[in-house]
Each structure stands twice: as structure tokens, then as C-alpha cells.
Symmetry: D2
Subunit: 337 residues, 4 copies
């Protein structure tokens, strides 16, 4: 992701200039030296902050250092685009939000945002507008899935150890979309999740699953259904349905990698994107450009930091329910999520 | 449904002969006299049984009399095809199963079946075979929905009063499919449902909903997700996905009424079936023919009566969870469902 | 086709009764004896006509005897449904039309029709109504194809010898649809065809091709484009587009055998019908029923015999153009086709 | 197109630097001043060539000056990317090719290319690879269409006066693809076109049509079918099918503007791209980048200039056939096209 962001800002974001990059990994630094012309490369993030005079920082490091790196940049008054999640620890994430709020008093134009790429995807935006114009009535049922291609390399189980679990790692995007489509202020009434380990038995030991289903109930007559999977055979399949009272809007129900179909002895066939990056490549570029414009022109952030922290908290609550089996009920007045 | 069955058996099932029909409704009797050539018409079911010498009875009356009519026919040794559900009362339904089992000792070739049309649908059968041949590994996630066209006539709320609720009335088909695809012997570990009333507020008073989502967890690493709705704008949308370890099989993900597409100023568009009968018309004919063959040739029943009663019990349990909000856990050894 | 018609009339057409069948083939007679309960079987068509007292005859014999068998039945005043084409010789086909016209003076309710199944297909009828209601303006461009699954058995080249050529054998249906959609009275201004032998080199010797494209120009500003193929890898692909001034109506652009999709390591995939009979099964039943009703109720024929003969003449003209390479122009006043 | 190229090279092509732009149109110059930061703006092309020290020129001016502007740049040894067509006059186009060939002796690394965007489209490239890998046998039938959204503003008829006709303006892309997929060296055996004016009657006077169909026959057993239209109701619909002996590859058979579907009372619906630029936006960027790399790295041109001139000659021959009604035959040895 760091490389992708670097390329997107360096070559595809006309108003941005990448002046320095950092990674504790020697190979990544070598890659940067070779691929990012005219860009200074640091092994240490703090050293970069100390030596460079920057305007904004894009953080795509290990999740474990997201918060601390974001805090350092906030302190310097820099704009920050941090990959999701801000932290695996909701309390820490909240502390970043608080630090940002305090910093805003000194740097009122400072922008700190978590990178939720789907908010920048043209199709999701079109869907949002179609729902928002109101012809179909209010959204009632939100269904969304993030289903990744099965990784048979064995890499995945190791990765999962620090991923925060399938609801934090996969469904966080669907949760973010859920809050966007059903209303950032919607209050959760109940949530619950179930799951299985069907192809990665090693997940059981680390209290994770490779397929899971959640239901989320909101006060005000809205319900949501999330599905996440690490087991897809054909490719990455992310789909979203917003079912309103008099119509529904659906995103990517018939995923395809390209405009190509093949008809051969097996039938009529299309290929699917293999990775979410294939599906959301343009969204990442749009994110880079809009974040840049937002910083330069002091326009409102496309996604509020509080919303991203709330998405994380919901993801973690679902992950706990997945493991415990409990359905958790919430009081309307005492909104803990 | 009675008329449809009568027509299907009378004109489209070569090996069956409709000799008599019955309905307490004068208009229906009139319709039968006019449309079912050479068929005797009765206002009273028991009178028909008393006067006619039959081989089989097809019951598509009000749900309230399904069980008693089935029992009368079982007693006479007749084959019975009864519309689902056998009864709104699971205990009564179980008593019908018991009566059938006792009767089998006297009439070992007697067939009693509940009419679950989707089991006779060519696409569901193709899907079942594709899953069963095993190339994709075992089924892990079952997702299915029955989503009906919004009825704006006001008829629906009245109908709902005696329907048993949305999980019994709509999802019963998905539950039946779930048992078929995940294994009739799979034991339920937990179930839970949430729902809303978005377009039929009158449903609230009768403890029903117009949109609902359920999760069902099975012992042995299988999970299911059901969605039912009474609010679709474009038509009836029933879809099913069976996600296996190395592939998934999907039924009717792109519903269409016909092979026609229209491209006009609004875009590219297809129409959807308006009613499940449009979608499953052929399945009902297949059901009539196979039930007939099963009776005449003494072959095994395509759907076991116990399975249909179990589907009903699960539907009712989901309906209770929908109203109470409770997630219900089941012990593996003490399988109550 | 004879067996299918026999089954359709015998078991699926309630108002028809199959009393006798005939075939010069012993095996077919044996099949009839075993499968058509209560039906008398003849080896000789004329003997059947002589001995049986019939109301209607359905002819699905070898094309070579279509005309003579139709004439015998016309003479007896029987209704006739004859498989297309009436004859390979347009003059002979015209003589059948003349005989029918003369017979009508004696038997004014007599019905003689060529079986063009697509006219009875629900999707084509829906398309016709959508075009006819006029919202899209007049039809301007008609595109249609009949593309059959590649037959690797070697049977096809032999069959082709007496088929009349690809435009008579395959495209006759598209030509019939073209006349229906563009107007039975539309006059042809030019026609032309090109083709290749890509998979059946043996066709070259008998002046046929396995892939061919035709253009047909009508007076009054309408044009048509036909494609026919014997080389499809995935299945039978018949598609039709009627492009009107303000919208277009399309039939079967995304062929599928069933409602099933499979997602596996190759991508997302559906199977196609393998034979036109899979696609038009219901249309043949509708044809049987409507022809029966037309005879019994003396309603107008769904397809006029003259239209079917004209379709044949156009198919033969295209086949000649295919072989000669000539584009043929027609005078508006002297409509030879 | 000029603006789009300017933006693509200026902001999206990292290795290119736009130093100067030119247009005889004051408004366009104003736009350039405002939108192309740091770029010098000229009203006169020749003045720009005289004053600036350039490496490459991108020509997207009126077709009438394409050739002369290309020649001026060739003379200076500059690389040239010229929008199609090089000229409306094939002889002039050939003279440009000759000038380029002579210039190559002096400037062996000089690149002159006509901009055929579809060759840079990811889906067409994927299709080309799938055909080229050979599993499906050789390509036999090539079908392609360029069908544009109906322009009701009246602008179109005026534009058409200098467009060269529908086969030069629309189908040139399909012809280019045809040469690519069927082989640049394939020799034409016959060509022929028919057409109508259904929505723009004014086209008749300028010997053009708004819908046209062509057939092209090649020596070696390959045939092509082209359709072009100015009358689409839903959007721009470009589709291509390459039908090989044992499989077919299809591009964009189900066009869509985005990943969004809407289900409402009209059915299930998607929107189409409104303009080819929506469909090929990325292809134009790829073209800019690859042309840049080709110039800087002296790699072979993705599309040969001769091929582009041949496509033009074929388009003009089809346009003549469209007007005359003649089918034109070509001798294999004396390939004039």
C-alpha cells in the first residue's frame, strides 16, 4: 500500500509533490530510490519528520505504528492521510481524534483523515447520490460483503495474527459504507456475528474465522447484513446493496476484471478482479487527489476521523461477538458504539 | 394455488387424472365447473372423500385445515401432496408425520409429501448436482432470499395475520433449501433474526415484519444467512448462493422475466418476474408429474415429510427470535430443531 | 422433431388427441408404440390418411416429402401443421399455397401453417409488442443470428447435403423474424451474403459454408444483418436485435441454459443451451396448443403460409449470393422476393 | 480531444512535459492559459514549431490540417502522435507515410503514430492475447460496432459534412481492430455496405447515413461484419466479437457506465457510457504514456502508420459502397486496399 500511495501521489496527483518517503525496510527504501525520482528516502519516520519541511504525511506503515506516527505528524501541524485502521486499540484511536481536535485550535486548516478508499469510488458515489436524491424512499436494508480471493500460499494465517480479525480487516470497509449509507448518526440497537474456519484451520487458534456473517440493527428501522470471506475461488468479490422502500441500488453485483467475455466449451465466462486493488485502483487515485485538494483548498474532509474510529469500534465489537457467540444489545440513549 | 395445481394435474400431467375437486368457496367451484372438463366438484372436502374412489389427494386449502384434511386422506390410504406448511402448529405437524408413519404399516406404498416447489426447479437441481459432485469441496456458507414484490393493495397486511409470519411464509422455502444443501441431518447450533417494518406499519401490531435477516449456525462448520422481504420494487427476487471451499454455485442472481432487454433513454433494462409463480411455473408442473410418478411407480419421495416439518419448526423459531430479539443456542446432543 | 411434436400434442396439448402416427422408420414406429399410449402406428403416411378419420395432420417428415404429404392432407380437408420448409423448391412451395387457397373455397375453416417456432416464443412476442406499441419509433435495423453448437461427430456435413444450405437451414428462422418485425409487406431492395468454411471443409464441395453473414436492404429505410454459424463452442446462440429510432429491443443477448452461475478458479461462468430445442422447448408446446385452438376455434393463423414461403425464397436467394458472391438488386415495383 | 490530450500528457503522463500548446481558437487558448500551468500558448501552430524546442508533437486539430501539421513536425525530426485520420484524402495520407519513411533515414528514432485509442484499451488487449495464445484456433468471423448516442441538438449533421462519412468517422476504429485481429497482412476479397437515414434526414443530401452495415471478406477464410450507428438511445455502444474456430472472445457486450444497478418499478437497470470517451478514458491515458515511452526509449510503435492509412482507405471504400450500393471485389495479387 505504501508503494501504491507513493506512486499515486508522485505520478498521478498533479497538485502534490512527494519530497520524502520512509520505511524501516531496506528493500522498500531501495525500491523508493529506484522508482521515485527526486525523492529523499529515510529509514526512520521520525528522522524524516525532523529533517524535512513537509505539508502533509501519508501513513501506510504497519498498523501497530499508525497511531504514534499520526500523532507525531499532528503535532507538527501536518495534514495526515492514514491508512485504516488508526489503531487496533479503540481507546488509542480515540486519543488520536482528541489530539487532532486539540491541534485544530492551533492549526484550524489541518486535515487528518483515515483512508477509506470506497468512499472515493465512482460507483459508490453514484449509488450514494441515487439513494440520497430520495426517489426510492429511505434506505432500510444495507447488505455488503468483502470477500477475498483464497490465498493458498499460507501467508494469510500469519498476516491474520495482527490484522485485528476478519471484521476489522475485511468488513471495516463495509462498516464504513454502512455508516455512510444509513447515516453517520444512526444508533446501533444490536449486533451479532457467526463464522467458521473452512479453509484456514489455523485461524481458530488466533480466534479468527475465514468466513463470517453479521447482523446489525439500528434504532429507527434500519438493518444491516455483512458477509466477509477469505475463501473466494474466482477473485475478490465486494458487493453492496442498499434496499430502500421503493427501489434498491446495488454496487458490483456482477464483478468483472475487464470488458472481456469468453465463450468456449465450458460456457460463457468472465474473469473477476483478483484483489481489491484491481477493483479500487481508481478510487485510490481519487483519494490521493481529493485529499490533496482538501489540504490545499481547505475544504471539508470527505470522511470524518470520528466516523473511521466508530467503524473500527463496530468492527471490533463484531469480532468479539464472532468469538463469543453473544448478541449484544445497546441502549438508545447510552450509545457506546 | 388450488387452481394452479388443478390445471397442472388436469392438463399437464399425462399420468394423472383429476376426477374431483373441492372448495368451500362457491366462486372457486364455479371456476372448476367451467374450467375442469369432466371433473366433479364438491363444496365439502369430507363429502368428496366419502363419495369418490380416489388414489391421491392434492391439498391447497387454507393452512388452518391442511393437517386435518391430510389426516383424513392418510386414513383412507390415499397419497397426499399437501401445500406447505402442514400446519402452523409444529406439534400438529408432527402428529401428521406420526399418522403417516403408522399408516405406512398398512399402506406401505403410500406417499405423503409437502409441496416445496423449489426442490423441483431445474436450476436448483443443477446447482445441487454441481455442489454434490464435490469438485468445489464442502458447502460452507448458504445464503438465500425470498423477496416479494411490494403489494400496495393493502391485501398483504390482512393476509399476514394468518401467514405465520415472514419467516414461515417467505423464508420457509429458503429454510427447506438450506436443509437440502447443507444436509438434512445438520444440527443447528444457533439462530437469530432481526427485522423492520418499512412499508407495512400494520405488521408491527401482529408481531410481523416486512424485511428480516436471519443467521443460522450449524454444528460442523456451516453457516447460513437468510433474507426475506415484502418490499421489492421491481419484482420477485429469490436468489441462493452455496459457497463451497473451492467454488460457489449461485441460483438466479440476475433474475429476469424473459430473454428480452430494452435499451432506451433510461439505460439498459430487463424486467423481473412479478410473482414466484412466474419464476417457478415449470417447477410446479414437475412437482405434479414427479409426485404422480412417485405414487404410481412406488419410488422414494423427493422431499421427506419430516424435513418439511423441520423447516417449519426452524421458520417458527426464527420468527420468535425476530420478535424477541433473542439469539437462541442449541445443544448438539439435544437437537430440538 | 416428429417425436417431440407427438409428445407435445399427446401429453401437453389438452385440446388435442393424437390418434395415429406414421413413420417409414421401423425404430421410430417402435418408439411410438412404446411411448404413445393408445395411438395407432403406421409405416405409410398415405395408408394412415386412408384408414383414419382425422381432423389435423402434423408433418415432421423428411423435407423431401413435406410438400406431397401436405398436399394429400389439404385434399382431405385436414388442417396441417408442417415443419419448415414446405419444400426445397420454391415453385413447389408456391403450388402448395395455391392448393391451400383452392381448398379454402371448399373448407373455409381449414388451417395450413408452417411451424416457425420462434413466433410462439414468449420473449419474441414480448419484443414484438414492445416494438409495436411504438414508443421507440419505427424499427430501422434488424440483426439476428442462429449460431449452432459445433458438431464434431461428422454427422453434420452429411446432413447439410440435403439441408438446402446454411441460409435455408439456419437463417430461415431469422428471415421469418425479419419479415415479422420489419413488416410482412416490406419489399427487398438488395441482398448479399459472404461466408467461409472454417471447421467443416467438406461443406465447400456441396456449395455450403459453416459461417455466413448476409445484409438485406428494404425499400422504406430498413436494413437487416444476419449471421449464421455451425461453429459455436459453448452452445446454441440465437440472438435478435430490433433497433428502432428511439430505443432497441433485444432477445437473448445473454443466453443461459438455466438460472445457475458458477464461480470457480476460471472466473464466473454460466452454461448455454446446447440445442435450439433447449431454448425453444416451450415455444414448441405453445405452437402445438395455439395451432390446436386455431383449428378448433377457427381463429386466424398465427403465421401465414405465404410468409413462410417468402422466407424460404429469401433464404434460397441468400444461399445463391453466398455461393456466387453477387449482390442482388431488386426493383421496387417488380418484387420477386 | 485536444484538451483531453493536453490534460493527459500534462497531469497523467509522468515522463512527459507539456511545454507549449496551440489552437487558432481564442477560447481554447484561454482555457489552456487557465488550466495548463506553466505551459506556453500559441494561436499559430507553425509559430509554435518555430519558437519552441520540442521533442514531440500531439496533433488533435481539425482533420483538414492533420496532414500538413504532421508533415511540418516530421520535417523538424519531432515525434508525432496525430489523431485519426491522417487525412480525408488517402493519397495525402500516403504522402505523409512516405515523408515519415524518408525522415527516418535522418532521424532513425523518430516515431509517427496515428491515435487509435482502442489498441490501448486493457480489454481489447486482453482479448487480443486470448485470441493470440491460440487455444481457440484461428479467428474466422470478426464483428464490431461503433454505435453512438443519438445527438438531438442538430450539431451532428453539420459536423458530418466534414467527417468523411459514417464509415470513416465511426467505423474507422472497428476497421483498425479488424486489421489487428484478423492480421495486418490479410488481403481483402470483397467489401460492401448498406445504410439508412432514420433520424438525421439531412445526411442524405451529403451522401451520408446514420446507420450502416458492412461486410468485408478476406482471402484466407476470414469474414467481417461492421455496424455503425448515430442513433443509440441509451448511450454509446461499442462491441466487438472475435469468433474463432473453437471459442469466441467478446469485448463490451454488456456495456455499463459504472458498477451500479438500480432495481425499481421499471425493472433492473444499468446506465451506459454516454460517449466513447467515458468508455475509453483510460485507453487515452495509456496511449499518452506508451507513446511517451516509445519516444523516450526508442521502442517499436504500438500501431504502424501504414496500418492506420490502410484503415482509412478501407473506410473510404466502404463509404463509397454505402452510397453506390456496389459490392466491390478485389484481386488477391493486386491488393489495392
Amino acid at each position: 500500500m505504501g508503494k501504491r500511495h507513493a506512486i499515486n501521489f508522485h505520478t498521478l496527483t498533479h497538485r502534490a509533490m512527494v519530497v520524502a518517503v520512509t520505511s524501516p525496510d531496506q528493500d522498500e527504501c531501495k525500491w523508493a530510490t529506484e522508482n521515485l525520482e527526486g525523492v529523499r528516502v529515510y529509514l526512520d519516520y521520525e528522522e524524516m519528520l525532523a529533517k524535512e519541511d513537509l505539508q502533509a504525511v501519508v501513513i501506510a506503515s504497519a498498523t501497530a505504528v499508525h497511531a504514534v506516527q499520526t500523532l507525531s505528524a499532528i503535532e507538527k501541524g501536518y495534514h495526515v492521510l492514514c491508512e485504516k485502521p488508526l489503531s487496533q486499540d479503540v481507546a488509542v484511536a480515540h486519543s488520536v481524534v482528541d489530539a487532532y481536535k486539540r491541534s485544530l485550535r492551533i492549526h484550524p486548516k489541518q486535515k487528518v483523515m483515515c483512508g477509506f478508499s470506497r468512499r472515493f469510488d465512482a460507483s459508490y458515489r453514484e449509488a450514494y447520490e441515487k439513494v440520497a436524491q430520495g426517489d426510492y424512499g429511505r434506505p432500510v436494508v444495507f447488505r455488503s460483503q468483502t470477500a477475498d480471493l483464497h490465498d493458498s500460499s499460507g501467508f494469510f494465517v500469519n498476516y491474520a495474527k495482527t490484522s485485528g480479525g476478519i471484521f476489522v480487516d475485511c468488513s471495516i470497509h463495509d462498516i464504513d459504507l454502512m455508516l455512510w449509507f444509513l447515516g453517520e448518526k444512526s444508533k446501533i440497537k444490536s449486533l451479532q456475528a457467526i463464522g467458521v474456519t473452512a479453509v484456514h484451520p489455523g485461524l481458530e487458534a488466533i480466534k479468527d474465522r475465514d468466513n463470517a456473517i453479521a447482523t446489525v440493527e439500528f434504532y429507527g428501522g434500519r438493518i444491516a447484513n455483512l458477509y466477509c470471506s477469505r475463501m473466494m475461488a474466482a477473485g475478490q468479490e465486494d458487493t453492496t446493496e442498499i434496499i430502500c422502500q421503493r427501489g434498491s441500488v446495488r454496487v458490483n453485483m456482477e464483478g468483472r476484471k475487464s470488458h472481456v467475455d469468453v465463450h468456449d466449451s465450458l460456457g460463457a465466462r468472465r474473469e473477476l478482479p483478483q484483489h481489491s486493488f484491481d477493483r479500487f485502483r481508481e478510487a485510490f487515485v481519487t483519494e490521493a487527489r481529493e485529499f490533496t485538494s482538501c489540504c490545499l483548498d481547505n475544504t471539508p474532509l470527505p470522511v470524518k476521523l470520528e466516523s473511521s474510529v466508530r467503524a473500527l469500534a463496530i468492527g471490533q465489537a463484531l469480532q468479539r461477538s464472532l468469538v463469543s457467540g453473544d448478541k449484544v444489545m445497546f441502549d438508545e440513549l447510552d450509545a457506546k458504539l
